[in-house]
């Protein structure tokens, strides 16, 4: 899979949000360590899934990778263009090559803009058309690509259903011919029957244009369906990463095991037979994450070392990475 140079390389990426106290003389009281050193790469045409509970930092990771939030530390390389904390070359070119599909199709489209204005904004910003006729043609083409009629281009977002709005969001994301798209929970606001439509559309577009996706989601069944490889995030760090079937059939990290066992199966017989690992408590605060392995307070197999040492990122099997003391040498 990774023979060629990967399209996206993320190295030790961190994003901290400062917390200040005091109304007038604000002083820094600490920081939310939303993303605390993640590394991975995505090959061209590949879909990498990023899963985890709410608050684990997956959305922040996606936004930081696209430089919507400036990173606190680390390096992002997309299509040989490198961005780190010191050097920020041509962000505009970077933005042309990347795009994002947002979770909430109601909040992510400007209600006062027509579909045409929404979809053509990236074209305008990147000066991708010569005249009005070309612009309209391009918008029509984009709408047809996502399965919307070009008759709708002068309508406003409120005239569309959730699934159709998400299609508009996809059309807009495709406008600048991006190479890499971060899909941030693109289907979680949609009904089941509409989810399948959008997922199939994303797959078709990937085949057609050789797109590379980072697919952020909490629906682990859908992630298994759509992603080639899956990374599991917990409290700002990646705890496990593997090819999808390897991860789902042979999860190594206790957190991944618990997460997978909690996913309901739409089959009553299978669901009754299953052994559930019920995690106690909630995800701790990322302001002051637990020492050592961040998962140790909720882990059923944690031992002394887990409270002290941060587990190393190890390749347990070819392509199967895990950060857990069960697999490190004493």
């Amino acid at each position: 899979m990774n023979e060629a140079q990967p399209l996206v390389i993320i190295e030790n990426l961190k994003k901290y949000f400062p917390i200040s106290s005091g109304l007038v003389f604000q002083k820094k009281a600490g920081s939310v360590r939303a993303v605390d050193g993640i590394s991975f790469s995505i090959a061209k045409g590949e879909t990498l899934g990023l899963v985890g509970e709410s608050g684990c930092g997956k959305t922040t990771a996606g936004r930081t990778i696209l430089n919507l939030y400036p990173p606190t530390a680390g390096k992002i390389t997309i299509d040989d263009q490198e961005i780190n904390t010191e050097n920020k070359p041509d962000l505009k070119e970077f933005r042309r090559k990347t795009a994002m599909i947002f979770q909430d199709p109601y909040a992510s489209l400007n209600p006062r803009w027509t579909v045409s204005a929404i979809v053509s904004e990236p074209l305008r910003v990147h000066k991708l058309f010569k005249n009005e006729k070309e612009r309209t043609e391009r918008v029509n083409h984009l709408l047809n690509l996502v399965g919307l009629s070009s008759r709708l281009i002068n309508r406003f977002p409120h005239e569309f259903s959730g699934g159709q709005r998400q299609r508009i969001g996809v059309a807009r994301a495709l406008a600048s011919d991006p190479l890499f798209i971060v899909c941030d929970e693109p289907i979680s606001a949609l009904d089941v029957s509409i989810q399948a439509q959008v997922v199939n559309l994303l797959e078709d577009l990937q085949d057609q244009f050789g797109l590379t996706y980072l697919f952020i989601a909490h629906d682990l069944s859908m992630v298994r369906h759509i992603c080639d490889r899956v990374a599991v995030m917990y409290l700002g760090v990646i705890v496990e990463l593997a090819e999808r079937n390897e991860l789902y059939e042979n999860p190594l990290h206790p957190y991944t095991q618990a997460l997978l066992s909690a996913v309901p199966i739409p089959d009553p017989k299978r669901d009754r037979e299953r052994r559930r690992i019920i995690l106690s408590g909630d995800v701790p605060s990322p302001i002051n994450p637990p020492s050592g392995c961040r998962f140790h307070p909720r882990c059923s197999v944690a031992f002394e070392r887990c409270k002290v040492d941060i587990p190393e990122w190890l390749e347990e099997a070819p392509g199967h990475w895990v950060a857990c003391h069960l697999y490190t040498n004493p």
Binding site: E53, S54, S161, G163, Q164, D191, V192, S193, I194, Q195, A196, Q197, V199, N200, E203, H218, L220, S221, M222, R224, H225, I226, R244, N245, Y248, A258, L259, L260, S261, A262, V263, P264, I265, P266, D267, P268, K269, R270, D271, R272, R274, R276, I278, L279, S280, D282
Partner: protein
């Protein structure tokens, strides 16, 4: 579910509409069902299918106007919930009927402490002193798995996480030991790990309190391990009703079939594209006269366009509303 179980709630021909400036929303269009004592019934459907409106109608929580319950009965312990006075209802709600909602943040009052909110319910329905009520509140919170319950009575809802808030809601719902608990998407806003905790908790409490539960959800996954019987709703109609194993093992309505086919499975390797259901649910502003699923159905025949199929039994404990008899009900997942 055993065969001697007796019905606790009997809903007949319920029709609820909303009159809005754009016209009339036909939200629930004549549905009938029964829930037996001790049973867990799941009501499944997508947004706008009428599942919540049905329950709100039964609970007397539909704002009138704009809402209107055009017809129907909901017989609960010899009383028709649709036609009793608000005063009688006040007594029933909380004591005999309780409801928990999807979003525990908006259903708890943000400016009152948790303790105050639980004791209020207790004192309304049971004649107990504030001290006694607080004691019961602590017991309830412990029962739903809130650690250090006694010290948390003074906490406000924002100091709890989503899962903990839902536990508080459950504690409040259980405070007067209701015989019927209606849970409206109680785990939808929660993470899977927290969802598993809440499902586990409800299963445990179901045993302890011998509760009858109606669980409303859009998630066919979560009810598989929870329900005895499932009702599938579409555009204000019941399209299929079956015991849980039959519904998943032998779905008979094209909509149920399509929904199951649209779901990927966490326990299986990908073997196909997802079956997507073309189109979108119908406009509820139009009074339905034909099968509401016909425009999206792959099995559609002439008759579907002119006449709405009634819900009829095709096997014991299995009903469906479809003109077509489906032969191949495999969903391609083998």
């Amino acid at each position: 579910m055993d065969s001697i179980s007796k019905p606790l709630l009997q809903v007949e021909d319920l029709r609820t509409r909303f009159h809005i400036p754009e016209g009339t929303v036909y939200a629930v269009n004549g549905i009938s069902f029964v829930i037996n004592e001790g049973e867990t019934l799941a009501v499944v459907g997508e947004s706008g299918c009428g599942k919540s409106v049905t329950m709100l109608s039964i609970m007397g929580l539909i704002p009138i106007p704009p809402g209107e319950i055009v017809s129907g009965k909901a017989i609960f312990r010899d009383k028709d919930l649709i036609h009793i006075s608000e005063k009688e209802f006040e007594q029933l709600r909380g004591e005999a009927l309780a409801m928990i909602f999807q979003d525990p943040m908006t259903s708890l009052n943000p400016v009152l402490t948790i303790g105050r909110q639980i004791t209020e319910t207790l004192r309304t329905h049971l004649s107990v002193s504030q001290e006694e009520a607080e004691k019961i509140a602590v017991e309830l919170l412990e029962r739903v798995g809130i650690p250090e319950a006694s010290s948390r009575l003074g906490a406000y809802p924002h100091q709890f996480s989503g899962g903990m808030r839902q536990r508080v809601m459950i504690a409040m719902a259980l405070s007067c030991n209701p015989s019927l608990l209606i849970a409206d998407e109680p785990t939808t806003a929660l993470d899977v790990t927290i969802q598993a905790q809440i499902v586990e908790l409800v299963l445990k409490l179901r045993e302890q309190f011998h509760m009858t539960i109606i669980w409303i959800t859009h998630d066919l996954g979560v009810v598989a391990g929870l329900a005895d019987r499932v009702i599938v709703m579409y555009a204000g109609f019941i399209v299929e009703e079956a015991l849980v194993d039959d519904l998943y093992g032998n779905p008979r309505h094209p909509y149920t079939l399509a929904l199951l086919g649209a779901l990927p499975r966490v326990d299986r390797r990908r073997d196909r594209r997802l079956n997507s259901i073309p189109g979108a649910p119908p406009n509820l502003l139009v009074e339905p006269h034909s099968c509401p699923f016909a425009p999206r159905c792959t099995h559609v025949i002439e008759r579907c366009w002119v006449e709405n199929p009634p819900l009829k039994a095709i096997a014991p404990n299995h009903k469906t509303a479809c003109w077509v008899e489906l032969n191949d009900t495999s969903i391609g997942t083998s």
